[in-house]
């Protein structure tokens, strides 16, 4: 595959389940050799998109090409070129970890001896050597997940699909997986991963596509998405809570935008357009008004905020955190 041909192209994919539009004109282009993150809330259509691209799902409309082959017309070539780790572990629970990997290797048409050797390497790499001969049904969730990942890497795939690959992994395994993905990418594999963790998308993905209600609503690098999703903010901490109303009046007047207050931590924040000028003006106005300021920061929006801005609702992870905070 030459490097001008994108590794994944989805063009107006549609899939309906009854009255649910799981995919509703889903467009995506992933350049060869890059990592694309699909970011979206529960039910956005990430899994449906991955399953459609990995030939597991017949879609109702649109076209898709993976590794240069048409998904509908040439599914066997696509399957030979891809690796898939789905959202739910797809291993044989009755067989041992080793038997699983040898089986999948043989079904990829490796000779028995090669399949065995590859299985051993992967068991080592994913820290499963000790449990290699136990049936996979006895594995913990994280171990099963790792076995599932190993199964998608038996032969180096040209395009690797990872659907929420790190859900249920402890931090060490997660870092291990990220390393594995990075080294695959260094060897030329294209990765399409879905995630609800903004941090993961931020860490791994060259470009992020934000998915909502079955379509891509925003696309770009994480910096671009952050920049596009609204203004920078100024955050001020005043010396005591009694000063908050006065400070709020001043900031609102100078910044010309509504102010958010947090009494607990004596903080107020407001969006600003011209960062440095706004900072200077606000601080001067506060000194004139004799409001003592303890701390001040200017910051770009987080990906969480970007998400909120782009989809009109919070990301699942952020929602949970907000609920915990409340």
């Amino acid at each position: 595959m030459n490097h001008e041909t994108p590794a994944v192209v989805a063009d107006g994919l549609r899939k309906t389940y009854g009255r649910t539009h799981a995919l509703d004109g889903f467009d995506l282009t992933v350049p060869a050799g890059s990592v694309c993150g699909l970011l979206g809330p529960n039910g956005a259509g990430k899994t449906t998109a991955v399953r459609a691209l990995a030939t597991l799902l017949r879609f109702d409309g649109g076209h898709a090409r993976v590794a240069g082959y048409d998904v509908t017309r040439d599914p066997e070539r696509v399957r030979a070129a891809i690796g898939l780790t789905g959202q739910y572990a797809a291993v044989d629970e009755t067989l041992s970890g080793r038997q699983n990997l040898v089986l999948f290797g043989r079904l990829r048409h490796l000779p028995v001896r090669v399949a065995r050797r590859r299985a051993d390497e992967l068991l080592d790499q994913f820290g499963l050597a000790d449990a290699a001969d136990r049936s996979a049904g006895t594995y913990s969730g994280g171990m099963r997940r790792r076995l599932d990942l190993a199964a998608s890497l038996i032969t180096r795939p040209r395009v690797l699909f990872l659907d929420e690959p790190t859900t249920g992994l402890d931090p060490r395994s997660r870092n291990g997986l990220w390393d594995a993905v990075r080294s695959l990418v260094a060897e030329g594999t294209t990765v399409l991963l879905t995630t609800q963790y903004l941090e993961e998308a931020d860490q791994l993905a060259d470009r992020i596509s934000v998915v909502d209600a079955g379509r891509v609503v925003a696309e770009g690098t994480s910096a671009e998405l952050k920049a596009r999703s609204g203004a920078d903010r100024i955050e001020l901490v005043v010396r005591d809570a009694g000063h908050l109303p006065a400070a709020a009046r001043v900031v609102e007047r100078v910044a010309g935008a509504p102010v958010t207050l947090d009494r607990e931590i004596r903080q107020l924040s407001a969006p600003v357009t011209d960062r440095i000028t706004a900072l200077a003006d606000i601080l001067r106005a506060l000194r004139d008004a004799e409001v003592p300021v303890e701390d001040v920061v200017l910051r770009r929006p987080t990906l969480d905020e970007a998400f909120l801005h782009l989809t009109g609702h919070r990301a699942a992870g952020a929602r949970e955190r907000a609920e915990v905070a409340a």
Partner: protein
Amino acid sequence: MTAGRLGWAITDGWVMTGRNMRHVIRSPEEIVLYFSLPIMFVLVFGYVFGSGMAVPGDGSYREFLLPGVFVMTMLYGLGATASQIAVDAGRGVVDRFRSLPMARSALLTGRAGADVLRALLELSVLVVCGLLVGWRWRDGLGDALLAVGLILLLRVALTWVGILLGLLVPNPDTVSVIVFPLAFPLTALSNVFVAPELLPDWLGAVAAWNPLSATVAAARELFGNPGIGGDSWAAQHALLLAVGWPVLLIAVVAPLAVRRYQRLSR
């Protein structure tokens, strides 16, 4: 289909057969359960009811019964086939199989392969069991092996019926409930326990044309066991039907099963 594809379809089916046999090895208690039913049939029908049963012409009822029990065991194996396919189809691992560049048919042919291997095991146990209660083959080893071949051919056909059934009712619990009421009348309306000519006319006709009866009659003929013959065309051409019925079943059911599998959860 090119030769290469057919070659891979066979290889993949064989690999999947190995996978299914490993499942069997990991749960040997299931095998014990399988053998206990046919052995019980031999004992109950051979000894308890057998004394009151008649065989057309001469001969021992037990010797008449054994080929019937062989075939009946093949029929009941269909339940296991169906429920295991249903279990498989509901497992996450099917997604993995679907995403691999393997032959689409391999999950099914691998099931069929493993079940026929297991049937061979079951038959061996039954043959030993039969020899112990006085059953013999009387027309030489060649004919006896031919009879075994016909019985296994029927099993292959029934395996595909089981696979289709398992895919149509993709819930292992439902499957096991459905199979018995389907299988029981088939054995009752056959020549397994009673020779058709001893049945009322119309029942006898149904029993004579029953695919199970064809294989049973052919096996009796080849083993040299009593109870063969009869006036109907079907009874006269048992060997032909014992090949024809299974081949017809496979030709009709196997493609349906493969198509059903490909449409599943897409």
